[in-house]
């Protein structure tokens, strides 16, 4: 057993017993990165030298925080002062943020150690990390398959033990779906629980930062670091800061679980449906009440999501003009050409497609039919969830309609790629928290993810529910990628 095989809470235990030092941990992960990165391509930037320096500084210090000296990977759309933040785009290939994102400040205050910036779909637009302008990340369970996306680098690195945990961002499933594809745990917090300050904006009313971890306890541990009201993000909600470890092990006796039947039918792979249903049966054994319910929103949610997300993206990405930062073309004779050519040369295909769709649905003549309509359907979706949550504590669905697919399989059909988000987008639309945990593997030994959905700001129940299943089934001990 190598140190890089352990979860963070196991590492912390060893640190507390003084069996190991923070330098041992960082060295173990760096050696793992040296061995495996060439196969996986999870990183855009590796900060091994800086990490070693910091570990050396911390080694003689007093552990001033719970996660003192623990390494981490950060998705490359989260700003880190002094290290490049590229969003896996040619547009920001050389961008070095002059400030830290609030979550990065929190990580630094804990004295955690950044191992590098993780690959992603360009500007977080995609579900396979194939839209990165720099490299294609491979799934550690089968390197011919995608890791999911857009936080594919983060999820693949956690699954391959190249980082003990990582930060991702989730606009329509970008934490949960790659976590599901890579057999790890991905949590999208309630909208507003974690500050978005310093997260390069894709769709501001949907984006949320969250942890991708090896197990549920680590998820709670990292969430403890990330939360807190932030004046710099006007959508950050001022709620009392909780300790998510406090009720983690309380069990699910008496918990009411709703199972929306529409998420197990058409469009969902049968093996996945069965595996998640088996997992739900385990909850009965654990003392929870399970009841089938109806939530017939999947297609509407997906359409609403793509209209709203693209509209917001077309507006957010207007800032990339080749003037203050980012790529500037050499090919221009006037200001207008400078804007247009810089944008056209530096944005990738999928980013342009979404800007165009977003501009279309916001343009005069179509605004009411698409954008305004979608904003109204958004209200209906929220109401439907509210109704269900008056009866149930959590809902359970599959995380994704399929397991990880082959690289290249869906690249040429954008709409088919969008269907990968079928089960996840509705949570972003309604601002709800969701966690994906592994619940088995399919006949090709590829991991299957189960999504647990909670009430707004009820991450405690979400984590408790996930933890109870994980402890009963021990996925991590039973299944491992052969790397």
């Amino acid at each position: 057993m190598e140190l890089y095989d352990l979860t963070v809470h196991e590492l912390i235990e060893k640190l507390e017993k003084k069996e190991i030092s923070v330098l041992d941990i960082t060295k173990s992960y760096i050696s793992r990165i040296d061995n495996k990165e060439k196969d996986i391509n999870a990183f855009v930037t590796i900060t091994d030298k800086e990490a070693l320096e910091k570990a050396n500084e911390l080694i003689d210090g007093k552990a001033s925080s719970k996660c003192y000296g623990i390494p981490i990977g950060i998705k490359d759309n989260i700003c880190t002062n002094g290290t490049k933040t590229t969003c896996s785009s040619k547009m920001l290939e050389n961008f070095v943020s002059p400030y830290d994102a609030t979550v990065v400040e929190k990580i630094n205050n804990e004295n955690m150690i950044c191992l590098g910036k993780m690959n992603m779909d360009e500007f977080a637009m995609g579900a396979s990390t194939e839209y990165s302008a720099f490299k294609k990340t491979k799934n550690p369970w089968d390197i011919e398959r995608v890791p999911g996306g857009s936080s594919g680098g983060s999820a693949a690195a956690v699954a391959a033990n190249m980082v003990p945990w990582a930060l991702g961002s989730d606009t329509g499933g970008s934490i949960r779906q790659p976590a599901s594809f890579c057999g790890v745990v991905g949590l999208k917090p309630t909208y507003g629980l974690v500050s978005r300050y310093g997260l390069v904006a894709f769709a501001s009313s949907l984006d949320q930062i969250g942890p991708i971890t090896k197990d549920v306890e680590d998820s709670a541990l990292l969430l403890n670091v990330l939360t807190g009201h932030d004046e710099k993000d006007s959508t950050s909600v001022n709620v009392e800061k909780k300790n998510y470890l406090e009720h983690l092990k309380d069990g699910v006796e008496g918990l009411k679980i709703g199972v929306p039947k529409e998420f197990f039918g058409e469009g969902i792979n049968e093996e996945i449906s069965k595996s998640v249903k088996d997992a739900i049966d385990k909850y009965k054994e654990l003392g929870a009440t399970v009841e089938e319910c109806s939530l017939d929103i999947a297609d509407q949610a997906l359409a609403t999501y793509y209209i709203i997300a693209c509209a917001e993206a077309s507006s957010n990405l207007g800032r990339f003009d080749g003037i203050r930062y980012g790529y500037r073309t050499n090919n221009f004779t006037n200001l207008n050409e400078l804007f247009r050519n810089s944008r056209s040369e530096a944005f990738g295909d999928e980013v342009k497609r979404r800007i165009i769709l977003g501009t279309y649905v916001l343009s005069s003549g179509y605004y009411d039919a698409y954008y305004k309509k979608a904003q109204k359907v958004r209200t209906i979706i929220k109401n439907k969830f509210n109704e269900l949550f008056s009866k149930y504590d959590v809902l359970i669905t599959p995380t994704a309609p399929t397991v990880a697919y082959k690289i290249g399989e869906k690249c040429n059909n954008p709409l088919e790629m969008y269907l990968a988000d079928l089960c996840t987008v509705s949570l972003n639309i309604a601002g709800l928290p969701g966690i994906s945990i592994p619940c088995g593997v399919n006949s090709n030994n590829m991991p299957i993810g189960m999504q647990i959905i909670g009430k707004q700001f009820d991450e405690e129940t979400l984590l408790k529910t996930a933890y109870a299943y994980e402890q009963k089934t021990k996925f991590r001990e039973t299944y491992k990628p052969e790397l």
């Binding site: 209209i307 930062y325 221009f332 342009k352 165009i356 343009s363 309509k373």
Partner: protein, 94 residues
């Protein structure tokens, strides 16, 4: 709704993007596919339904009207593709 080539080019123009000839057809097809899919929303009755702007019940976020000076001009200019005398350089506009 059917999108014409002219409409697509108009939209690309609004978004400050150039489309190459070979991109026009594939973007047109993609846009049409996605809009066709979005038609599922037409079947949803939204009369008397308000729009949702954000997903939490946050109404407004005020902060004190205080000036905070950020003095590290150099850090802000570090990423500028072209700069001169502590200013961003742009082509002549008049």
């Amino acid at each position: 709704m059917k999108v014409s080539k002219e409409e697509l080019l108009h939209i690309a123009n609004l978004a400050n993007l150039n489309l190459k000839e070979e991109e026009v057809n594939s973007y047109l097809e993609n846009l049409q596919d996605i809009l066709n899919f979005a038609n599922v929303l037409n079947n949803v009755d939204t009369s008397n339904i308000d729009e949702t702007i954000g997903s939490t019940s946050n109404v407004n976020a005020f902060r004190k009207d205080e000036v905070k000076v950020f003095e590290d001009t150099e850090a802000l200019l570090r990423n500028a593709p072209e700069k001169e005398n502590n200013m961003f350089n742009v082509p002549k506009v008049i």
